[in-house]
């Protein structure tokens, strides 16, 4: 493979920092614009609209988007269905070239997109930059995968046998707000490059990034109707899109409850439906890191803190539980507290701030409810409060200890900057506790003992297991990403087999006279 990961921007280089600072100013000038639904190349406005707020400064409206209704949803599916007849016949090389053009375009718009991510979802500079880099990676990686020849078949006498991948049909793509560009671009690109058409419903927390990606895609030559942009609230149009008989597949990344609902709705055949709908769903995690007594404490503490508090813990891969060998527990606790105290909280647009806000008021309240529970059952070692004297949805990074094993904080996903810590008697016990959730997305183990690394590899049950490395920051191509059990369908985004889920293989066998 020729594919290489897009390099992250080094903001220590003054020109790079200046470029993003300028892009942040420019973006701010464009705040409050309206972003319409685009179906079959036509723009649609509705009277109602979604307001996307800047979580760092919640009185600022980043932009407004059409709040699509059922009629628009119907038109979008119709458009995707009709466009599929043309798009399926476009050679894969051409579709792959489209993705490459999109990647190149995103690269030129990097600072601009980074700025919008910072404003719309509250990522810090580095995380927002990584989001754009990952989007570029998905586009280039899938472009390269798509043109790979299919696997060879076993020869059969007097026959000529072929194997090829056909597209499925209209795919409803429902990405999350926490990687508002990367996952949205990745799922859309996978669907497009395999010959499917797309109805893209961005998260109602981040429609502006979605719209900006969509515009970039159109400018690169995605034909009308092949991708349709349908911003709206999940509760209004989500069920309709999933249930409709024209929908061939749903690609979803988001919460467990919504994922299970989509799976259930998609399973019910509708009148006139001629297929079993395919659903891929990447859901939550309750990820754990286990640190044993031989580990490099300082490094483990730094990386656990990064895994737990990077993007305020709002990653499905984030670490929310850490099990530490009792022999090093006190020292580890001290070091992670030092790491936490060094975090700087404030508006994401300010470069020095390592921690920005959580996505919304509702998220802030929900996380606080979990913290209150933790405070009741265990002991608050750091943080725990919302920062109310600022006009954004800020929460202190929170460390909770002495939780009884029965506490829901050990099993429920919080999706915020909350980390539970407990001493364990051995690495085995740590891994056993780590496995005690219904999720199974990421996990990490820190130990210097090669035998125990082996043991961890054999017994730690999660889709992405990291040894002596933090459990966030998966790279396209290098760390195919997806989880076990209720973490989803383990579709392994950014992995060599991801595109298979957007295609159906066909075998053609011809008699040779």
């Amino acid at each position: 493979m020729k594919f290489k990961n897009e390099a992250f921007t080094d903001f220590a280089v003054p020109e790079n920092a200046a470029r993003l600072a300028r892009a942040l100013q420019d973006a701010r000038r464009d705040f409050g614009q309206g972003y319409p639904a685009v179906i079959n190349g036509r723009r649609h406005h509705t009277r109602k609209s979604i307001r996307s707020l800047n979580p760092s400064l919640s009185k600022e409206v980043v932009g407004t988007a059409t709040d699509s209704n059922l009629s628009l949803a119907d038109q979008a599916l119709e458009s995707a269905t009709r466009a599929f007849q043309r798009w399926r016949g476009v050679p894969v090389e051409e579709r792959a070239a489209l993705l490459r053009r999109m990647a190149a375009r995103l690269r030129t718009q990097k600072a601009e997109l980074t700025a919008w991510i910072i404003y719309e979802v509250g990522k810090n500079w580095a995380e927002a930059d990584a989001d754009v880099a990952e989007a570029i990676d998905f586009l280039e990686y899938y472009a390269e995968l798509a043109v790979r020849p299919p696997p060879a078949l076993t020869p059969v006498a007097h026959e000529h046998n072929r194997y090829r991948y056909l597209p499925l049909g209209p795919v409803v793509v429902i990405p999350p707000w926490n990687f508002p560009l990367a996952i949205l671009a990745g799922m859309s690109a996978a669907a497009l490059v395999t010959g499917n058409t797309v109805v893209l419903k961005p998260s109602s927390q981040s429609p502006v990034i979605g719209a900006r990606f969509f515009e970039a895609a159109r400018a690169c030559g995605v034909p009308e109707g092949v991708m349709n942009f349908l911003p709206g609230s999940g509760s209004a149009i989500g069920d309709y899109l999933v249930k409709d008989r024209r929908t061939r597949m749903v690609a979803f990344t988001g919460s467990l409850s919504v994922g299970l609902r989509i799976n259930a709705l998609a399973a019910q055949p509708q009148k006139g439906q001629r297929w079993i709908k395919r659903v891929i769903a990447e859901l939550g995690g309750k990820n754990a890191i286990v640190v044993d007594e031989s580990a490099d404490i300082e490094r483990a503490a730094a990386e656990v803190a990064a895994s737990a508090f990077g993007y305020q813990g709002q990653k499905c891969s984030a670490c929310s539980r850490v099990f530490v060998h009792k022999r090093i527990y006190e020292a580890f606790e001290d070091r992670i507290l030092a790491q936490i105290r060094a975090l700087r909280i404030g508006p994401s647009a300010v470069r020095e701030n390592t921690m920005g806000p959580v996505i919304s008021k509702a998220a802030q309240l929900g996380i606080q409810r979990h913290i209150a529970l933790g405070e009741k059952h265990g002991r608050l070692l750091h943080g725990g409060r919302a920062i109310l004297d600022r006009d954004g949805f800020y929460l202190e990074p929170t460390l909770i200890g002495r939780l009884p094993n029965s506490s829901p904080l050990w099993v429920e996903e919080i999706f915020g900057p909350v980390l539970a810590i407990a001493p364990v008697g051995s690495l085995e016990e740590g891994i056993r506790r780590a496995n005690e959730t219904a999720y199974g997305l990421t996990g990490a183990v820190y130990t210097r003992d090669p035998k125990r690394l082996q043991l961890a590899a054999e017994t730690f049950f999660c889709g992405n297991l990291y040894l002596n490395r933090k459990c966030t920051g998966a790279l396209v191509g290098g760390h195919p990403f997806g989880g076990f059990n209720l973490s989803g369908t383990d579709s392994k985004a950014g992995g060599p087999e991801y595109l298979l889920q957007f295609s159906q293989p066909q075998a053609i066998s011809a008699r040779r006279e």
């Binding site: 007594e293 022999r327 006190e330 020292a331 580890f332 001290d334 507290l337 030092a338 105290r341």
Partner: protein, 287 residues
């Protein structure tokens, strides 16, 4: 008024102003089965002459120890040997002391000071160690770096005194709470005792009864002989405990400071243990 009073109180922790008083104190401790390590008080020396004078004092001290047949090592601070003036002259001073000690078959410990000097102290120690085997280094469990330093230093035979560290350090590089400093101390105890078989000789400097129990338990677990490590305490602090340990067959050593520059040493002792502060306050109010 206050200074004579403090001087009186400091007498609890300091043997006296002369080398003879320290050797005398060491002899008394030897009688109770406790070895000694003698420190000539002084730090932050800013002139080459004063540093050289301090080195001369140590050489006299070593002669005295030898002629009185006292079982006592010596302990030096590199900032007293002129580390802040020039690394070269500091190295020369230390080398002179270590050579004199070598002649008397004695042993020189390198005290560890504030974190600004940790790296330089370790580097000087390593340089001396390549020439003379009769040197040992003090490391502090309050510093985060210590585990890594040990990993590196233990590649060669190492005499190491493990203490907590009584200097005020920034939280980025040091454990902030007593709980964590103790926690790291236990980690390092484990690490040191595991490496005794590779030529590590640890001296555990602690006054904490629970820590001592922990150390003896790990030593048993690791099958480390009583002759392969020792306990060390400061002059004037929990000397009964040290005597008890000596009677139980452990190797013990007392750190005896002497000299006129007792003030910073005294302040550190007050800061590190509240019992020491109580002792002082009790005496102030008794007057």
């Amino acid at each position: 008024m206050i200074r004579p009073l403090l001087r009186f109180l400091a007498r609890r922790f300091v043997a006296g102003e002369t080398a003879a008083s320290a050797v005398d104190a060491a002899k008394r401790m030897n009688a109770a089965g406790i070895k000694a390590v003698i420190d000539f008080l002084g730090e932050d020396v800013r002139s080459e002459q004063m540093a050289a004078a301090a080195a001369n004092e140590y050489i006299t001290l070593l002669d005295l120890i030898h002629s009185f047949r006292v079982d006592a090592h010596v302990s030096v601070k590199l900032s007293q040997m002129g580390l802040l003036v020039s690394r070269e002259s500091c190295f020369e001073n230390v080398a002179r002391i270590v050579a004199a000690a070598s002649k008397h078959r004695n042993f020189v410990w390198f005290d560890m000071e504030g974190s600004d000097l940790t790296q330089k102290t370790i580097e000087t120690f390593e340089k001396v160690r390549t020439v003379y085997p009769n040197v040992g280094l003090c490391l502090q469990s309050s510093l985060v770096r210590t585990g890594g330093d040990l990993d590196r230093l233990m590649r060669f035979p190492l005499n190491v005194r493990l203490c907590k560290g009584a200097y005020k350090e920034p939280p980025q590089i040091a454990y902030a709470t007593k709980r964590a400093v103790d926690g790291n101390y236990r980690i390092l105890v484990q690490k040191l005792l595991e490496h005794v078989k590779d030529g590590v000789y640890p001296a555990f400097a602690t006054h904490d009864g629970f820590m001592i129990d922990y150390i003896t338990a790990i030593a048993r677990e690791q099958k480390v002989e009583l002759s392969q490590f020792e306990f060390e305490m400061l002059y004037g602090i929990r000397s009964h405990l040290l005597q008890t340990l000596a009677r139980r067959g452990f190797q013990t050593r007392v750190y005896i400071p002497y000299g006129r520059s007792w003030f910073p040493y005294f302040v550190r002792r007050l800061r590190e243990r509240k019992e020491n502060l109580f002792f002082v306050l009790k005496n102030i109010f008794r007057r």
